[in-house]
Subunit: 449 residues, 2 copies
C-alpha cells in the first residue's frame, strides 16, 4: 500500500483538490493521504500557513485578528464549494478557528503550534469530507489517534521512536485515512509542530510506520531536474536517484523536498517518488536506497552561494598534535558550524556558511585563531559558492573529475577548493560567486549533452 | 657571510674531505662550517654514527666494545692520514673514545647522547685540524662555547630561543669556525642531541643566529629533482623553490633534507642552497621565502606510500554540531595523528599514516567510532599513496588541476581522494599504491615535457 502526501499548491483551490481526488481514486493502493495546508493559488496569493502566522503575531500584539480568521475560513469554504460536503464540516472549521481567540499567547508554550497546526488539521478534515462526498470510504485521522508521538519542543518537535509501532497498527486499514501533516502530539497530549515545511516528515514517517511499498510526494513539478532551470535552459528531469544523491543535491540549492524530511523513509528503505499533481501520468523522480541504472554516472549539478573560507597556514603545522582539534574547539566556542575542511601539508581551509558571521564576530574569530594558533598566514575569503557534481556512478568512472576540471578551466573558472572524499557520490568545487552560474552551466553541458 | 654544512658522505674519506677543504678555501665568506660524522664511503660501508650506536648497545649489554672503538678510531685516522695534522689531535680523539668505557649506561640519562654526539664532535676537531694543516685560519668551536642551548630531552632536544642571541655574538669572527652538528648543551651543561639527522638543524640554527646571507647545505646530489629519479628517467633539477614548496615535497617522499631542519632558517628568512660536494660548480637548488621565477608553475611531483583512509558516512551528518570534533577526540584518545580530512555532505574521510595502526588497534578504533558515531557506513581503505603536485605558481593557473586529472584519467588511475585547499601550493591525490609510480610518471611528463 502507498502513502500519498500532497503539498500546499496541490490543495490550494477546489480545482486542484479535484485533481487530488482523481489521483486518490485512480489507485486503490493509496490508503494513507497526508496533507499540507492550502498553499498559493497564484504568485501573489498568501498561503494559509502565512495567514496563521499573522494571526499568531496579531494575537501576541493584542490586535483584532477576526478579519484574518474570516480570510482563512474563506479559503476552506472556497475549496469546499463545488463539492457536496456535509454542512457541519465547515461549521467545525469555523469553530476551530474561533478557538484561537481563547488562547493566551504569553502563557501557553504551544500557542504557535496549536494555531499553525490548524492549517493542516482543518485541511485534512475538509479533504476527508470531499473524498467522502466523492464516494470514497475515507475519513479524517488525528495524528494523536494515528500515533505520531513527538518530543515536547515547540515548533521544533522530533519524532519519538514509539511512533513507528503505534502507526504500524493502522497498516491493515480498509479505509482511506486522511492525516494532517506538520505536527504530532507530545506524551502529555500537547500539539507540537515539526520545523516549517515538515509535512514531508509526516508523510515519510507514516510511510515508514505502515511499511508502505511507496511514498508518493505530490508537488507542482514533474520531479527533480538535473540542474537549476534558472541556470540551464530546459534541464533534463532525473528519473531515478538515491537518497545520498538527493542529500548532496538538496545541500546545494535543490529545494524540492524539506531537507531532513526523508530520514524516516530512508531508514525504513521505503522508495519515494516526487510526482506532479498537475501531470500525474508523468513518472516523476524516484528516490531509492540503491540505484540500478548507472549508465548515466552524473545525475545532477547543484550549487549554492553564501559560503566563506578561513585559510590558516603554519610552517610544520602537521607536526603539532591536536592542531585541528584546537581550531574546531574555537569554532565550538563561537557556536559556529563549519562545512568542510580541506588541508594541505601546512595549511588548512575551513569553509562555512557566511550567514553565521557578521563583521564583528568575524574579527573576533580571526583574532582568537591568531592568538591561539599563531599562524604564519591567516585570511578570510568571502563570497564563495559551492558547485557540486552528484552521481553514484562516479565512483567507477575515472574521467568525471578530469572532465569537470577541464570544463571549468576552459571557461577560465578558478577553483578555490576541490573536495572529493572517498564516497565519490559527489565532487565539490569552491568558486567565486560571480562564476557560479557559468560553472553550473558548463558542468551541466559536459555531462548532459 | 655564509654557513656551510657538510653531510656524512662529504666527509666519509680523505678524498672527500679534500673536496671540502677546496670548497671552504674557494670562498672566504664561508666562515661557519658545520659538520656531520663521517658517513659511508661505499654502499656496503658503515657510518660512524651506526658504529657508535652499536657501541651504545654493546655497553648496555656489558659486551666488549673495544673492537668497535678501534674501528671508529680507524675511520678518523684514515681521513687524517694524507694531511699534516698535529699528532696530538688523533690522540685526543682516541682518548675521547676511551672515555665511553667509564660511562654508566643505566644511570646516565645522557649516555646515548654523549656517545652519539662524539661522531660529529671528533669530526669537527679533525676537520679544523685539517683546515689548519691546509693553511687556513680555522678552529674547532664547541657548541657550548658557540651558544647552542637546548632543552633537556635526551635524543630529542629542541633549540632554546636564547641560543640565537648567544650565537649572534660570533657573527663578526675573522676565523673559520668548525662546529659539530647534531647536538647542543642543556642549561646544566649536559650534551643533548637533536633527533637523528639533526646536523641540518645545527646548520640552520647557526645561519639564523649569525644572520648569514646564505646557508649552504652540501650533500652528494646536485640538488633537488622535480621527481624521484627511481620513478622518472633523468628528472629535471629544481633551480629555485620556496620553503612551502620544499615542505610539500619533503612531506611526500623527498628526503634530501631532514624534515624539520629548515625551521630556524625559514623563520629568519635565510636562503638555503642544496649543493653537491662532488660537483661544487653546479648551482644546486635554492630554497627561499619567495620565488620570483613563476614561469614554471609546477616545481615537482612527489609521492609517498603507507597511508590508509577511514570513511564514515551518516545520513544528515552535517546537521550534528560537533560531529568532527567527536571523531577527532577519538583519534586523540587513541593517540593517532591524522593527515587530511576531506568531507562530503554526509560523509568524511580521515587519511592517516598506516604505520600508526596494527590490526588490533585498527579494530578497536573502528569499533569505537561505530559505537560513538553510529554511522550508516564505516570502512577502511588500506594501501593508499599520496601523490602531490607542488608549485607556488599554481594559484594563478586555472588549468593545473584540469591537466593533472586529465593525465591521471588517461592512464586509468582512479582517484580515491583529491585535496586542494585554498593555498594552491599543491594539489594532492589519494590513489592506490600499485598506481603510485604510474601517477608520478604521467604527472611529471604533463608538466615537464
Amino acid at each position: 500500500m502507498k502513502v500519498a502526501k500532497f503539498g500546499g499548491s496541490s490543495l490550494a483551490s477546489a480545482e486542484q483538490v479535484q485533481k487530488v481526488v482523481d489521483i486518490i481514486q485512480a489507485d486503490p493502493q493509496r490508503r494513507f493521504v497526508v496533507v499540507s495546508a492550502p498553499g498559493k493559488r497564484h504568485a501573489d496569493d498568501t498561503k494559509v500557513t502565512d495567514l496563521l502566522l499573522a494571526t499568531c503575531e496579531g494575537l501576541a500584539a493584542s490586535k483584532d485578528v477576526r478579519p484574518l480568521l474570516t480570510e482563512i475560513y474563506a479559503r476552506y469554504a472556497a475549496i469546499a464549494a463545488p463539492f457536496q460536503v456535509a454542512p457541519e464540516l465547515l461549521a467545525e472549521i469555523q469553530s476551530a478557528l474561533q478557538q484561537f481567540l481563547t488562547l493566551s499567547p504569553n502563557d501557553d508554550p504551544h500557542f504557535h503550534d496549536k494555531i499553525l497546526a490548524s492549517g493542516e488539521d482543518n485541511n485534512a478534515r475538509l479533504i476527508a469530507g470531499i473524498l467522502q462526498a466523492s464516494g470514497l470510504a475515507a475519513r479524517y485521522l488525528n495524528p494523536e489517534e494515528l500515533g505520531i508521538l513527538v518530543t515536547d519542543e515547540p515548533q521544533n518537535a522530533r519524532i519519538l521512536p514509539a511512533s513507528y509501532t503505534k502507526i504500524n497498527a493502522w497498516a491493515e486499514t480498509e479505509e482511506i485515512l486522511v492525516i494532517p501533516g506538520f505536527f504530532g502530539y507530545t506524551e502529555d497530549g500537547e500539539i507540537c509542530t515539526f520545523s516549517r515545511g515538515g509535512s514531508d516528515i509526516s508523510g515519510a514517517l507514516v510511510a515508514a510506520g505502515v511499511n508502505a511499498t511507496l511514498y508518493e510526494n505530490f508537488t507542482d513539478v514533474d520531479g527533480i531536474f538535473s540542474a537549476h532551470p534558472g541556470y540551464v535552459h530546459h534541464p533534463e528531469p532525473i528519473k531515478e536517484l538515491t537518497y545520498r544523491e538527493m542529500r548532496e543535491l538538496s545541500y546545494a540549492g535543490f529545494t524540492v523536498l524539506h531537507d531532513e524530511a526523508l530520514m524516516p523513509s530512508y531508514r525504513a528503505k521505503i522508495p519515494v517518488v516526487i510526482k506532479n499533481t498537475n501531470n500525474p501520468t508523468h513518472p516523476g523522480t524516484m528516490i531509492t536506497n540503491q540505484r540500478n541504472n548507472l549508465t548515466q554516472p552524473v545525475v545532477g549539478v547543484a550549487s549554492d552561494e553564501g559560503f566563506c573560507m578561513i585559510y590558516i597556514r603554519k610552517y610544520l603545522m602537521n607536526r603539532e598534535v591536536g592542531f585541528t582539534l584546537r581550531v574546531l574547539e574555537i569554532f565550538k566556542e563561537f557556536d559556529l558550524n563549519y562545512e568542510h575542511m580541506p588541508s594541505g601539508i601546512d595549511d588548512i581551509s575551513i569553509i562555512m556558511r557566511a550567514n553565521q558571521l557578521n563583521p564583528v564576530l568575524e574579527e573576533e574569530l580571526l583574532r582568537k585563531i591568531a592568538y591561539e594558533i599563531d599562524p604564519d598566514e591567516l585570511r578570510m575569503t568571502h563570497d564563495l559558492s559551492m558547485v557540486v557534481v552528484v552521481g553514484e556512478g562516479m565512483r567507477q568512472r575515472v574521467g568525471i573529475t578530469a572532465d569537470s576540471t577541464a570544463a571549468l578551466a576552459r571557461k577560465n573558472i578558478n577553483l578555490e577548493m576541490i573536495n572529493q572524499g572517498s564516497s565519490e557520490v559527489s565532487i565539490m568545487f569552491g568558486i567565486h560567486k560571480e562564476q557560479e552560474k557559468a560553472a553550473v552551466r558548463t558542468l551541466y553541458y559536459t555531462f548532459f549533452d
